[in-house]
Amino acid sequence: MLGPVPYFALGCVALFAVWVAALLCAAASVNTARALGRRARALAGLREGTVAQGDGPGGALAEHRVLQLARALDAEPPALAFSDKGYRGEVFGGEVQLDGVATRLPAQADLEVWPDGAKQASAALLASDSEFDALYKDARSKGSPRDVVTRLLPGDRVYFVTSGEGEGATLTFLSATPPAPFLARRRAAHLLFAAGELAVCAALTAVALWPPLFGAISTAGGVGLLAFFLIVQPLGVAVEEASREPSRAFLRGTQRRSAPFPGGVVPGRTTTQVSNG
């Protein structure tokens, strides 16, 4: 007890700790995969149509809004980093063509709306240096708020779920992107991660246990297991964050000015909120 501890015993403890972490990361991923599967099943009554007209701005049926805060980066040319403060979905009401039949969707102030990823990315881009400059000054101190708005417009394909039928139907979900493939891809990513990281852990364990123990090959396995332990955790979090539903997926992002400020003069302070919507 009071003598030196055998390295074999310590190796077993270390190996146990690595495996506990690996199994927990895998279990968390499997749990998320199961949740995604439940979500997919909950969308069983999904219907697909085309927006005919909407009661919102520009004939929009609905919109998804990311509330962001722009902060200046230390960069040249000047650059802004955006952080997400929150996400909102709103249905303005309108008509959807469903198998040639016009179906009325009621307005709803707060609903889970999945935006189209490409349209959202496009809406997030600042169109000009003047837009950039308007955000920049406050971005050096308290941050400049802006909203990234993605609308569901006439002609867009939409996927939705309602509870109830006819005039009393209530919209419970609306998406501009097919939800089933998204959920299936993310579910597969989680299961692949879980299986893959356990396989890597098993392979490295085999190397670490290569005789003679604590020899060159075994030590290489130990180095690999230490690296694995440190890397598997951020990987697990990355897979988890990538599977956030599009309604609350991180948008974030950075954007650079096309050139340094003319004469190096930082634009004047503004309190105007910039929004593309």
Binding site: P4, L24, A27, R71, L73, A139, R140, G222, L226
Partner: protein, 338 residues
Amino acid sequence: MTSLPNTPKVLHEASSSVARAPAAPRLGPLKLLKNAYDLRQVGLITLYMGVLFTMYFVPAARTLPLLAFACWLSFLNTVVLHNSLHSGPFRSTTLNNAWRMVLSFGALYPASANIPSHNLVHHHFEDDGQEDWAAPGHVRFRWNLLNLLHFPNVAGPRTFAGVTRWSKLHGRADFRGQYLREQVFAFGLTAVLLAHDFWTALFFVVIPQLWGARGILRINLIQHDGCDVTSEWNHSRNFVGRAFNWVMCNNGLHTIHHNRAGLHWSLLWEWHDKEVVARIDPSLNEPSMIGYLARTYLFRFSRPAPRAVAHAEANAGGTDLAPREVRRAEIEAAGTAV
């Protein structure tokens, strides 16, 4: 704007009316320290480094008791790191920066990460509207023990990703420089030890380092799970054992620490009695951390449901506590100078 007792003058005053906060001893030859109580912190870290390097260099010292002691000291290293990143113990900025590098090696993560992750985000339970990087909700196993075990696996990566985003912002050059120096020192020295004798360094240096680092992450779950982080006085669980708090430099008194982050740790008992006791649900003052851990994670399967605890503060009188956003702005303005 502020009546917070976070100026150096108030920080180091001790109230004569409170028995638990005796007046700080005269500094005497310890003029390097801002507060003589910080000698306890310096002593703990000196002991920790001594134990680590003794085990590394002296084969006869590689015993189970000493390894367990090193793990315990590593956890205390992260407690001292936490305290030091709220208020550097030395009068000299250079010494405080060097101190952070030593603490970084002890914890195997750059100590300055605490400024954005703990002082700014965790103390206010949100990151510009998003969840705290170490929010209890990041783990969701039905078996509660797994939540405790898994928590560092998710809180750690979220924390370092968040720190990286924060550090790139305008005006953070000083932070980035110090953060880089801490990484080079902590990871570099550890890598040298690993390269020189991999298994000895792994077992007798890295395992203690990771034990402490993962332990302090778990504390976030232990101190906040089931609390009401939207309330002003019932967001945290306190562990109020006297001996526990002596060793832990009063880090069991978490509510007052969150609300009065600038207070020196030696004054937390005084302010806990003065402001927290009347406003907190008694269930959030736990007499024993070991008892709480056993009750919550070992002797039950499921996660306890959150209870309505915020009502406890409804009838208590007001204080001069500034709103969270004001407190956060003050910490942000302080930058790396703590």
